[in-house]
């Protein structure tokens, strides 16, 4: 189904941090807005395109006409969930999600009379506690005790490691995220990989702060994390969070980051032959996989997660109507994770609900995901729609771990 390759050039380049709306056209990536043909593909594909007063096409029109002020004073861009759909399909190859929209969003937030409370809180929490939930930084590695396998924490045992596993916030704190963390730890262990984590020294990588544009916060986190990395020796970083992967891959290089980096699914996909020999248990699930925006559209990692799922005995993979480059965002990106209340007050449909309806329509009994935002979002959406009996949500790592336990 729809596996035709699509050589979409969504992978952003590392962007200079000094780019602003004023000097946009001095950078080649920014200059591309001048080539926009006002075709409306961006608005047409945007999950909230019907609602936005200023979808990307109109923003570019206003920019070229010198009327951006009107865009800043409308809150329409808060509906942008940084899903890369517009960027992926733009026929002029304009990196809207990576370049233009964050700059606009920054201005929109500055012009808001009041910041949406939930978002405000999350950003403050990131700054104070290093995680958006406001959990204690001292409890970040608490889940390790329940992992069932040894998980080395570098501050306690600073020997060099092959793999530095960057667990990230939701995976560390959220109860369902911790399930993912435990599963990942077991898989790493089962594959005999020499890995370690930063434990309580780890803080949020900050990508969503950047995409909802909180420059100061983002820079603080970036500097902090770089100092922590410098303390230890490791060959590569593997992260459970596609958003952190994006931050490391596209933003951190400005501050000298040049470690090898991989998200979890492609990392495990390298070990497919070994995995196949330990994936013994027949799960007997019909699974549909949700391409996360960061992993899929932004990094073209469509096949690795599917290869892992196919390797599990008894898994039948079915596709949703919107898959791969055409996936629909869970609604969590670009700060959307903390705008649910705001959307609700404005009567806007939650994207997680839209997505779950498509998943249900496949007849699958498992919705597989690979981004830690999604588990809780989709489980909640299933509940709201009354489908929680029909379908469960699992991270790919959870399914893999389930299949190695006999």
């Amino acid at each position: 189904m729809g596996t035709a390759s699509h050589n979409i050039a969504t992978q952003s380049k590392t962007l200079p941090c000094e780019m602003t709306l004023e000097n946009l056209t001095e950078f080649p990536e920014g200059r591309r807005v001048l080539t926009c043909i006002q075709c409306g593909t961006c608005a047409g594909t945007c999950p909230y395109g019907e609602l936005m007063q200023y979808p990307p096409r109109r923003i570019i029109g206003m920019l070229r006409a010198g009327e951006l002020e009107k865009v800043f004073t409308s809150d329409s861009l808060l509906e942008c969930v940084a899903c890369y759909a517009c960027t992926a399909k733009c026929p002029r190859g304009i990196d809207l999600t990576g370049v233009l929209l964050p700059l606009i969003k920054e201005q929109v937030l500055l012009h808001l009379p009041v910041m949406p409370a939930e978002l405000q809180k999350a950003l403050e929490n990131k700054l104070r506690y290093g995680n958006p939930m406001g959990e204690s930084p001292r409890k970040r590695a608490a889940w390790v005790k329940t992992a069932g396998v040894p998980v080395r924490i570098l501050s306690e045992d600073p020997r060099p490691a092959e793999v530095l596993w960057y667990v990230e916030c939701y995976t560390s704190y959220h109860p369902r995220g911790q399930d993912n963390a435990r599963a990942t730890a077991r898989l790493l262990h089962a594959l005999g990989i020499d890995f370690a984590i930063l434990g309580n020294e780890e803080k949020c990588a900050g990508e969503c702060g950047r995409l909802s544009w909180e420059r100061g916060l983002y820079n603080t986190l970036m500097e902090y994390n770089m100092l922590v990395f410098a303390k230890y020796q490791f060959k590569m970083i593997v992260t459970s969070c596609p958003h952190a992967y994006d931050a490391f891959r596209y933003r951190y290089p400005i501050v000298g980051f040049n470690y090898r980096i991989s998200p979890v699914p492609p990392f495990f996909a390298q070990y497919l032959p070994q995995l196949k020999s330990i994936l013994k248990r027949n799960l007997n699930y019909t699974v549909t996989y949700h391409d996360s925006c960061c992993l899929g559209r932004h990094n073209n990692l469509y096949e690795e997660p599917r290869a892992l799922l196919r390797a599990i005995p008894g898994v039948k993979l079915v596709e949703m109507v919107h898959n791969r480059v055409n996936t629909i965002c869970c609604g969590g990106g670009g700060g959307g994770m903390w705008l649910d209340t705001y959307y609700k007050t404005k009567g806007i449909e939650r994207l997680s609900e839209r997505r779950v309806k498509e998943a249900i329509a496949t007849g699958a009994d498992v919705l597989a995901v690979a981004c830690p935002y999604e588990v809780s979002r989709f489980e909640d959406a299933l509940k709201v729609l009354g489908h929680e009996k029909k379908m469960i949500v699992r991270d790919i790592t959870e399914l893999l771990a389930e299949a190695i336990e006999v």
Binding site: G2, A4, G40, T41, P91, H322
Partner: protein, 665 residues
């Protein structure tokens, strides 16, 4: 330090002419200073500047100076030699000198157009002139060689371009070999029912030309054939052609098609290529009723005799005495000699699966434009009815423009014909089904004669136009298989999701999949998009960089039938012009081996891109065929003993030029 002016010992008298080219040169370079400087150079008898040296008075000026002042070397400092080297060589020749006693200096493209600092540009101009003056005194008289030209022409590809070029050449009395790789000629045009903008019936205007090709005494038509090798040079090409087996003897088959009825397959079961796989054919078939040649063909993949050797061969029985069917036919090759070649290999339609979010190959009711052309065609799989795969007549149809065109992710160029064929399809679908039709476009491109009027007509018929590029196509939940076509209507600033029964993707035109192989075989080049590259986009649109090889039709870039036919006529005229002179003059800047120095190491032989060098076994020396040599200089640079020299680029001349450039005045 200025060089001292002395009278040349060999009696060399040089004239230097600096051109203003209006303000093109004079605006950035001080032409007066250049002239004054040139006059001081050793050997220079006269230096002048003139507004347009290439104009008739400019040319006369040079001639007069040659006669009156006894000049015997001429340097013109003006534009690129690509443009005017020929002009000035002729001037020199008309004044009675050898045309190669001439050197051109490019102070426009290499100087005034690429610099802004007038002082520095003027200094650079001086350096360039000094180099030319130093070199021209060492020039030797050279002669152009003439070789005769073979009047026969090879035309590759039997679409409307190849057909039109073939008939033009044949009517002019030249022998044409028309090589087509399919079983019939006609190309894409044979697949259409009607053609924009006049809605002429495609078959009515095309098939008379196809039959004329078949019956023309000056045309040898080879279908199921391909060119495998091209040797030789302009005027004298040797071309190897491979004939694939048809399993039917062309001369014996009378086209009665009784065999098709008689085939042991009672029902047609094989997906039919000509109908874009929307219909079925038998293993023995004819692509379409008016195919040329009117000869059946057997597909060995599906024929039982080929699969098992145990078929009853009812086809052979019914063919009886005509004995046209021959299962033992083998591939054959033959070599022909021609003087010129016209490439007319056409285009390939974009694979719509490469835009996955349009659902082609996933949703059965998403079609390509070419598929719908076949549905509309009276001889097509549905006998001209526009019906969906499940037999329903669509009530609402979306036509999506720009699929695989104008998109950084696929092709950046505009395919030029798809706006017009989208309008044509809108009209025809409406006429056949009375459906409501929505055309989704970014820009409506209707620049041809009668095209805008056609757009007006289609709008008047009630077709809906939505200005916006389609962003997504997917099934409308709970709407009986209808698809939602989603786009922003940019003129209304609203996102519209329009439910339709049928989607038509107007796919763009791409180079043939094997264009790169063909390019190599014919020693020509491709543009970045992969279409064959013309020698000059404006002034030599049907020529290539290889003399004697011409282009016609969509192999050079997307175009409609009127433009294709015009270009085919132009290619034929260029070929005829070459043939009718009867000979070809060759540039004398060829390489030659200094036999006494050549050590016979053979280094140069494999390097020559034109296979012009051979090894003379008796003398154990390399030998260059002057006629084949294109003067690229590769061998000259490669020879370890420096034994290859090239006319006009002798070591002495090049060194003098370099020294001239580097000798700061």
């Amino acid at each position: 330090m200025a060089e001292s002016k002395d009278i040349d010992r060999n009696g060399v008298q040089i004239g230097v002419y600096v051109c203003h080219c209006g303000t093109n040169i004079a605006g950035t370079v001080d032409v007066k200073a250049l002239t004054e400087y040139a006059a001081t150079l050793p050997g220079v008898t006269m230096a002048r500047n003139y507004k347009y040296v290439c104009s008739t008075p400019g040319q006369e000026l040079i001639k007069r100076d040659i006669h009156e002042l006894g000049l015997n070397r001429i340097v013109v400092a003006a534009c690129s030699p690509c443009l005017h080297e020929k002009t000035f060589r002729n001037v020199v020749a008309e004044a009675g000198l050898n045309p190669y006693y001439f050197q051109m200096v490019n102070i426009r493209e290499h100087d005034s157009w690429v610099h802004t600092d007038k002082r520095a540009a003027t200094e650079k101009g001086k350096d360039l002139i000094r180099a030319a003056v130093r070199r021209v005194r060492l020039h030797k008289p050279l002669e152009r060689k003439r070789v005769s030209i073979n009047p026969a022409v090879l035309i590759v590809g039997g679409g409307i371009a190849g057909i039109h070029a073939a008939l033009t050449m044949a009517n002019a009395g030249k022998h044409v070999y028309l090589v087509e790789r399919d079983a019939t000629i006609g190309g894409h045009m044979a697949m259409f029912d009607k053609t924009f903008p006049t809605l002429d019936c495609a078959a009515c205007i095309l098939t008379p030309k196809m039959t004329a090709v078949k019956s023309h005494h000056n045309i040898t038509l080879w279908t199921l054939s391909e060119v495998t090798q091209v040797d030789g040079y302009v005027g004298n090409y040797q071309v190897t052609i491979k004939h694939k087996p048809r399993y039917v003897i062309e001369d014996a088959c009378v086209g009665c098609m009784e065999c098709i009825d008689a085939c042991v397959y009672k029902q047609a079961k094989v997906p039919d290529e000509f109908n874009m796989y929307l219909g079925k054919r038998k293993p023995i078939y004819i692509p379409f009723p008016q195919a040329v040649p009117q000869v059946v063909v057997i597909d060995r993949e599906s024929c039982i005799e080929f699969k098992s050797g145990k078929c009853k061969k009812t086809c052979v029985e019914v063919c009886a005495d005509r004995k046209a069917i021959d299962f033992k036919q083998q591939e054959t090759t033959e070599t022909i000699e021609v003087g010129t070649i016209i490439l007319a290999t056409g285009f390939f339609t974009f694979d719509a699966k490469r835009v996955p979010y349009y659902g082609y190959g996933i949703y059965p009711n998403v079609y390509t434009g070419l598929e719908v052309e076949r549905l509309i065609n009276a001889a097509g799989p549905t006998n001209g009815e526009v019906i969906l795969r499940d037999g329903r007549k669509p009530q609402r149809v979306a036509i999506v423009h720009c699929v695989g065109s104008r998109d950084e992710n696929t092709n950046r160029y505009c395919s030029r014909v798809c706006c017009m064929y989208s309008l044509k399809l809108a009209h025809l679908i409406k006429e056949k089904t009375e459906a409501e039709v929505f055309n989704f476009y970014i820009d409506m491109r209707t620049p041809g004669k009668g095209f805008e009027e056609f757009y007006n007509r289609v709008a008047d018929e009630g077709t809906h136009f939505v200005r916006g590029r389609v962003a997504d196509i997917y099934p409308n939940p709970g709407d009986g298989g209808r698809l939602l076509v989603c786009a922003e209507d940019t003129l209304m600033s609203t996102v519209r999701k329009i439910p339709v029964d049928m989607v038509v993707l107007s796919t763009g035109l791409e180079p043939q999949a094997d264009a790169q192989d063909v390019r190599r075989r014919f020693h020509i080049t491709c543009s970045t998009e992969g279409f064959f590259l013309e020698r000059h986009p404006k002034l030599a649109p049907v020529n290539t960089f290889t003399d004697g090889v011409f282009l016609a039709g969509c192999c050079q870039g997307p175009k409609d039938i009127p433009d294709t036919v015009a270009q085919a006529g132009a290619a034929a005229a260029e070929a005829l012009a070459l043939i009718d002179i009867g000979y070809i003059e060759q540039e004398p800047n060829t390489a030659h081996v200094l036999e006494e120095v050549c050590s016979g190491c053979k280094t140069c032989i494999p390097l020559c891109p034109y296979q012009a060098i051979s090894f003379a076994e008796n003398k154990k020396k390399a030998e260059i065929n002057e006629v084949l040599c294109k003067g690229c200089g590769t061998c000259v640079a490669s020879c370890p003993s420096g034994s290859v020299q090239q006319n006009l680029f002798e070591d002495e001349q090049i060194f003098a030029e370099i020294e001239g450039l580097l000798a700061y005045a």
